[in-house]
Amino acid sequence: MTDPILRAVGLTRAFGGIKAVSDVSIAVRTGSITGILGPNGAGKTTFFNLLTGFTKTGAGEVYLQQERITNLPPHLLARRGLVRTFQLAKPLAGLTVEETVLLPALRVGAGQDRRQARERAAYLLDRVGLAAKAEATSESLTYGDLRRLEIARALMLRPKLLLLDEPFAGLGAGEIETVSQLIHEIRDREEVTVLIIEHKLREFFKLVETVIVMVAGEVVAEGTPAEVVKHPKVLSAYLGERAYEH
């Protein structure tokens, strides 16, 4: 088993006495599409924020390819290839679609010359199907477009590990299909490991290879979607008989 790209050991964080995440340890296999599943309030988003440096850890460590990255600020993690997206995809006011994708390359010290950056941006926009809207302002995009734009911007940083926070939230069936397809392509052609939080089951189960189930801040089960579904704790806490059948 190749070394895991991301390891969390004993991650804990409490808010005013309530342990949102308590002693969670996971390992994400390189090149996999791994999912984190759990009912609302299970601590998924807090866990995600701990991994990506948006929330300070209470206890525990995080390793990215053996390098200890606990509590590093988000921009340093992004530069090390650990890039995330957000649950609420917001447009950047006053910036065009192309500029939004170019953003990571525009910062001082990004080290990419303009021409190269614009080329990669054009390539990525085409990959996510937004090439036609390059000059449009990002406020004019549909929610589905914004989702794909966010992924394009993340890819601009040539990430090793892409963390997607509820990528299907707010999308219609058709768009879910395209986004799901896009994630598969990214993993295959861009050699990116993908970690997803989601609660839209049908697409989620088709997409992820391994699932980690969190309930009330703790990992209760881990395995392939088929194994996880049968796990008693998961059934009682989350899926319930009927939901899973159809």
């Binding site: 992004a78 530069r79 997206t85 957000f86 006011a93 006053g94 953003l103 990571p104 910062r107």
Partner: protein, 309 residues
């Protein structure tokens, strides 16, 4: 990196030429004095817009940096006899450092809180300036600054050149990648952090630049007035600059600068009935606040360019 488009450059150079012609028409200190004051206001409003216009973090204590620059130049001159020329070089460094120091704790605050924090910071500076009068001259301020060599017209040209170059530089900054990143930060910091941008470093550096230019303007103003007085640290001045930026249109740098130039001239014209001046300011603000962030100058200029094309 986008540069000025053709029409913008042509018109701004024409404006520069017009302003440069003034000393040829009159060497009256009163007229030159008003223009120097107006140019200083333009630098202050432009520098305010550099941070607040781009990132949306509205700074209600800009007078702190203006005053710091003016007092730095005045103190060097009156206490150590260092020529005003050096004062104009040192002042931006002093104000810039102050901007970074004040920015560190306050820039992570959201909108209204940042405005309150900067307002209170300048109020503290104003009170200290009065209390530590052995150094700052208290309510009398630091007077008796030795004017720079040359006539009032020479000084006017110095202020005009520095003013034009500063505003052009700030405009280029706003159009540059950095300006784009700042606008993105103003829109959503989290997305920028995830896009590998060190948001805090950007904000603090920009605040330092904004403060530095304000300090530069402060030193130029002290050089004209030959005095640095506590009213350069007053909250009234900060609010006046915010009004100018609102009228000018935020985020365009030249908008607030042009608005500042005209408003400063109008205010001097209103000198006749001085009593009503602040009332007029208040009424302008009441009207302007109803507009969007774009104010008057920028939309008017775009409309005009549209008609000319």
């Amino acid at each position: 990196m986008r540069f000025f488009n053709r029409t913008d450059s042509v018109v701004s150079l024409a404006a520069l030429a017009l302003l440069a012609a003034v000393p040829l028409l009159t060497s009256d200190n009163y007229v030159l004095g008003i223009l120097i004051t107006a140019i200083c206001y333009a630098i202050w409003a432009g520098s305010w817009d550099l941070l607040s216009g781009l990132t949306g973090r509205e700074n209600f204590g800009h007078s702190l940096f203006i005053g710091a620059g003016a007092y730095a130049a005045a103190y060097l001159n009156t206490a150590y006899g260092i020529d005003l020329g050096w004062g104009i070089v040192v002042a931006p460094l002093v104000s810039g450092t102050l901007g970074a120091l004040i920015g560190l704790p306050t820039l992570r605050l959201q909108g209204p809180y940042f405005a309150l924090a900067t307002l209170v910071a300048s109020a503290i500076a104003h009170t200290l300036c009065l209390l530590l009068w052995r150094v700052t001259g208290g309510e009398e301020g630091l007077s008796g600054i030795l004017p720079m060599a040359g006539s009032q017209s020479d000084y006017y040209y110095l202020v005009l050149t520095i003013g034009f170059v500063s505003i052009a530089a700030m405009k280029l900054f706003a159009l540059s990648d950095a300006g784009l990143v700042l606008r993105a930060i103003g829109s959503d910091e989290a997305i920028c952090r995830a896009a590998a941008i060190d948001v805090d470093a950007y904000k603090i550096t920009t605040f330092a630049f904004s403060a530095a230019f304000a300090g530069l303007g402060g030193a130029l103003f002290a050089g004209y007035q030959l005095t640095a007085a506590p009213d350069l640290l007053s909250s009234g001045l900060s609010i006046t600059i915010v009004v100018m930026a609102y009228v000018g249109g935020m985020g365009t740098i030249y908008g607030p600068a042009v608005a500042a130039l005209f408003l400063a001239l109008i205010v001097e014209y209103l000198r006749g009935f001085g009593e009503y001046r602040l009332l007029v300011y208040g009424l302008i603000l009441l009207v302007v606040v109803r507009l969007t962030r774009h104010g008057f100058v920028d939309p008017f200029w775009r409309w005009l360019k549209g008609r000319l094309a």
